[in-house]
């Protein structure tokens, strides 16, 4: 009997030793964060609006506090990282009262029963925070690749001529300093460089009104909405990286997301003209405008520019495409017998380069407020934007324009990757991440599903171009992953859900 008891106890004890360890192998509180081969003592971040924490079409305190460099810096501080100072805005609204075109942030408000982003008035005049510097977040909203090396980009006097940027004026160390110079002067041990979006983005958000400067290597001659020459792009970035790494600093670079993955270009469909929206006008439009136009255009071999409006399915917008052969004269000639010289001339001028949009054209987010509104000065029967009057170039990024953007982006991204590789720097494929985000499946984090859908996707702020705190956190984690992979550090990821998303009223 005793023996049975003893053997039972012995076996039980054995089983216990096998499977009764109730604690974690390692508690996270005892994990030591390693810097690996990198040195995070002095981290500086270079870039544009995305780096500054810009969102909702403004730079403001809450956004800056959730900039991706500040998130990264916080994690670096667990591995010997130093202080990370940002040139904080004086208020939580943003904008500059004394400069035209710098409104305060967009707020979501209920307008006519629907939620809409509404701009707020700028909260203060341009301030100067240079005495509080030097700053480690050197992100300058609006900066293009070549701007970072431009001496005087922070000179107040240059604002009027467009040679300076108010966001850099705020914290530039002098009237002749450059962003890259201010960075190098701090002798950084680690840097991040995410620049180049604006080299294509301003062209894209202006509906392709600028010029593709590919082949022109003198950026001083560029307009603000132009596409930067890829060779200029590669050479200036190469110069920055050489300067930053001259003293042995390590760093991380990121490439540029395609415009096709951001809601500013994907929110408004090319065919928002539903039968319900057009109502009984469809017949009149077809007989008075679309029909005659199609007939005339067909005669000139361009009948595919326009199709009759459908009464059962959504119809595409009427747009201007500057890449089309201008058929103004031909149209006028063809329409004169039926419409008379005066009207036919007007038609010719208006529809000479008009066509219906296709799924390959991108309608700008800002265009949504223009569609269906009357065009001043246009004949009353054909004055509805996008319906009876073609949307002007500035409202649409046409297929041709889009392809210029994509071609330049691909060239930039190839250079960025090559430069990062040649210097052994960590590299973030931000483009791939944004493409992943823009898919229907999105990106999950701890049970929350994020997508690139405007407002409801949670990652893009109300301007449709810049990210929310959660969107920036997704990006911060990509930077951290790349840094860890390249430098064998063990910086922890940030919790995406802990940052702010879109604020509802």
């Amino acid at each position: 009997m005793k023996r049975i008891l003893i053997s039972t106890i012995a076996v039980s004890a054995l089983l216990f030793n096998i499977s009764c360890d109730t604690d974690f192998d390692q508690d996270v509180s005892s994990i030591v964060v390693s810097k690996g081969d990198a040195d995070f003592t002095k981290y500086v971040a270079l870039g544009n609006s995305l780096t500054s924490g810009y969102r909702d079409n403004a730079l403001y305190i809450d956004g800056q506090n959730e900039s991706y460099p500040s998130m990264i810096a916080q994690q670096m501080q667990l591995a010997g990282g130093g202080a990370f100072k940002q040139p904080m805005m004086p208020n939580n609204t943003g904008g500059f009262t004394n400069l035209p075109g710098f409104a305060g942030k967009l707020n979501l408000q209920v307008v006519n029963g629907a939620l809409s982003p509404v701009p707020s008035a700028p909260a203060a005049a341009l301030d100067n925070v240079t005495p509080g510097g030097p700053y480690q977040n050197l992100g300058v909203p609006g900066a293009k690749s070549f701007h970072l090396g431009a001496a005087g980009y922070g000179n107040m006097a240059g604002l009027a001529t467009g040679q300076a940027n108010p966001y850099y004026v705020r914290f530039a160390t002098s009237g002749t300093s450059s962003v890259i110079g201010d960075a190098v002067a701090q002798a950084p041990t680690f840097f991040s460089l995410w620049i180049g979006n604006n080299d294509v983005l301003s062209y894209a958000t202006s509906g392709g009104t600028g010029v593709d400067q590919t082949g022109n290597t003198n950026p001083a001659t560029y307009g603000s909405n132009d596409i930067t020459d890829p060779n200029v792009f590669a050479s200036v970035i190469s110069g920055y990286v050489n300067a930053l790494t001259a003293n042995g600093a390590k760093g991380v670079m990121a490439n540029i997301p395609n415009v096709t993955s951001i809601p500013f270009f994907t929110r408004v469909p090319y065919n928002p003209l539903t039968p319900a929206l057009l109502g009984s006008n469809i017949t009149a439009l077809n007989s008075g405008l679309y029909g005659p136009l199609k007939q005339a255009l067909t005669a000139f071999g361009a009948g595919d520019r326009i199709n009759l409006l459908s009464a059962t399915s959504a119809n595409p917008l009427l747009i201007v495409d500057n890449s089309l052969t201008n058929l103004s004269a031909q149209l006028t000639l063809a329409l004169t017998p039926s419409l008379g010289v005066q009207t036919a001339t007007a038609f010719g001028q208006i529809y000479g380069q008009a066509r219906q949009a296709t799924s390959e054209d991108l309608v700008l987010l800002s265009t949504s407020s223009v569609i269906g509104t009357p065009v001043t000065g246009a004949p009353a029967s054909i004055n509805l934007n996008g319906i009876s009057y073609p949307l002007a170039n500035q409202y649409i990024l046409t297929k041709t324009e889009k392809n210029k953007v994509l071609t330049a982006t691909a060239a930039y991204n190839a250079s960025l990757k090559a430069i990062a590789t040649s210097k052994g720097l960590a590299f973030v494929d931000a483009n791939a991440k944004m493409i992943e985000l823009s898919k229907a499946s999105g990106i999950q984090f701890d049970g929350v599903k994020y997508t690139a859908t405007f407002v409801t996707g949670g990652t893009f702020s109300l301007d449709g171009v810049h990210l929310t705190g959660r969107g920036y956190a997704l990006i911060a984690n990509e930077f951290i992953k790349a840094i860890n992979t390249t430098y064998k550090s063990t910086l922890p990821m940030v919790n995406v859900n802990s940052y702010s998303g879109v604020k509802f009223p």
Binding site: V11, S19, F24, Q444, D446, V448, N495, N497
Partner: protein, 411 residues
């Protein structure tokens, strides 16, 4: 005999048990012996096997008891270095049973018990708050039963199960900038129990029982969104920010085979085998009336969450030694297996593989019995690897139970 004991002990280490949100605490005396089933000493046997009431030694038996559960779950994420521990209130499952022998061959009984439930409360800022912040699941089983002695050594019993339950689940809805609570305390379900109880000799008790699954239907659920009122129209909510929902929560079936053998008049050992049909819990569907917070392309108001549970087995061993004629000492051990893999870990029903040691004492005086028992769970930490939720990390738990039971047998 030695061989049997050793073999049983070994099997107990390999095989497993119920898990999930099954709370196997329906008898204080039984818990002290690893919650084994072949104990026809009082009316509490009715929950384990309705046929068992035929072998209660007295004409009338009443039993009742309650437990305290202290359980804490910890989660940590080595990737973000975050860690959180639940702030669970004490769980208090209870039971009560009565059995009466109308004639020698026919006994009737009634059992009330809380065999399913779960209360988990995480800190409000914890990483998995989109999945659950706080959940309270409860199911009450009301079981009238009858048992017939087919022969002096065998009985057949059956019960009808009427189940009443409640769910109260709060989670964040990050994309809407708020929280969502779903609540229904009117859920009901039906089922049955069936069993044979054998007592071929004074030394041996054998219990074979089946308890059917019960589908708890929540038809009158209220979903309360604590979000900006500007979103109410978009979500189809009423002026209070509320919507209705329907759901069905499956409570699983269980097969039990139990044996008790008296080695000496004073010393008995018991063994149990359970099989629980957790594979019924493949997914949870919340069907909202208006709110488009679902994930089905063809029905935006339907939220389907995969659960992918698998069925589990368990082996239990327990023993009782009568120190005096009145005083009993009890011990037990069982191994508890989680009904899901690391890939399906869900923090609203945290479940672990666990070694459980049980023990207790009992005192009998005339027909009156008082029992105390306790159990300690040695739960194995596990990896959380849920790609569906993008929820990763590690989880561990510690839990102990204690119980106080009373029984009275008369005539």
């Amino acid at each position: 005999m030695k061989k049997i004991v050793v073999t049983t002990a070994l099997l107990a280490g390999i095989l497993a048990q119920a898990g999930g949100f099954r709370v196997a605490l329906q008898g204080v005396k039984q818990l002290a012996m690893a919650h084994t089933s072949a104990h026809a000493e009082d009316a509490s046997v009715g929950f384990f096997n309705p046929a068992g009431i035929s072998f209660i030694p007295n004409k009338l038996s009443v039993a009742a008891g309650g437990f305290g559960i202290n359980a804490d779950i910890s989660y940590q994420n080595p990737s973000t270095l975050e860690s959180y521990t639940t702030e669970n209130p004490m769980g208090t499952p209870i039971y009560a049973a009565v059995a009466y022998k109308i004639v020698d061959e026919v006994s009737v009984g009634f059992s009330f018990a809380t065999p399913f439930g779960s209360t988990v409360e995480w800190p409000t800022d914890w990483a998995g708050r989109e999945i659950v912040q706080k959940i309270e699941l409860k199911a009450f089983y009301f079981q009238p039963m009858v048992s017939f002695k087919l022969a002096p050594w065998v009985s057949l019993g059956g019960s009808f199960i009427y189940a009443k339950g409640s769910v109260d689940w709060t989670k964040t809805v990050s994309q809407l900038g708020g929280t969502l609570n779903i609540k229904d305390d009117q859920a009901t379900g039906k089922g049955f129990g069936l069993g044979f109880y054998f007592k071929p000799s004074e030394k041996l008790d054998v219990s074979i029982a089946y308890r059917s699954p019960v589908d708890m239907k929540a038809d009158e659920g209220v979903a309360s969104f604590n979000v900006s009122s500007s979103l109410y129209p978009l979500l189809g909510l009423d002026a209070n920010g509320q919507d209705k929902f329907k759901a069905i929560l499956p409570l699983v079936d269980e097969y039990t085979l139990g044996v008790t053998y008296k080695i000496t008049p004073k010393w008995q050992i018991s063994g149990d085998f359970n099989y629980s049909g957790w594979d019924r819990y493949q997914q949870l569907t919340l069907d909202f009336e208006n709110a488009p917070v679902g994930n089905q392309p063809d029905d935006p108001t339907k939220l389907v969450s995969p659960k992918n549970f698998h069925s589990t087995q368990s082996w239990r061993v327990g023993t009782q030694y009568m120190v005096t004629d009145n005083f009993a000492a009890r011990l037990g051990y069982y191994y508890d297996e989680s009904p899901y893999s690391d890939e399906n870990f869900i923090p609203e029903t945290p479940s672990f593989n666990a070694n459980v040691i049980t023990g207790g004492i009992g005192y009998k005086w005339k027909g009156l019995g008082i029992d105390l028992s306790g159990a300690y769970n040695f739960q194995t930490p596990r990896t959380v690897n849920n790609a569906y939720l993008d929820f990763y990390g590690q989880a561990k738990a510690k839990a102990y139970y204690f119980g106080l039971g009373l029984s009275y047998n008369a005539f």
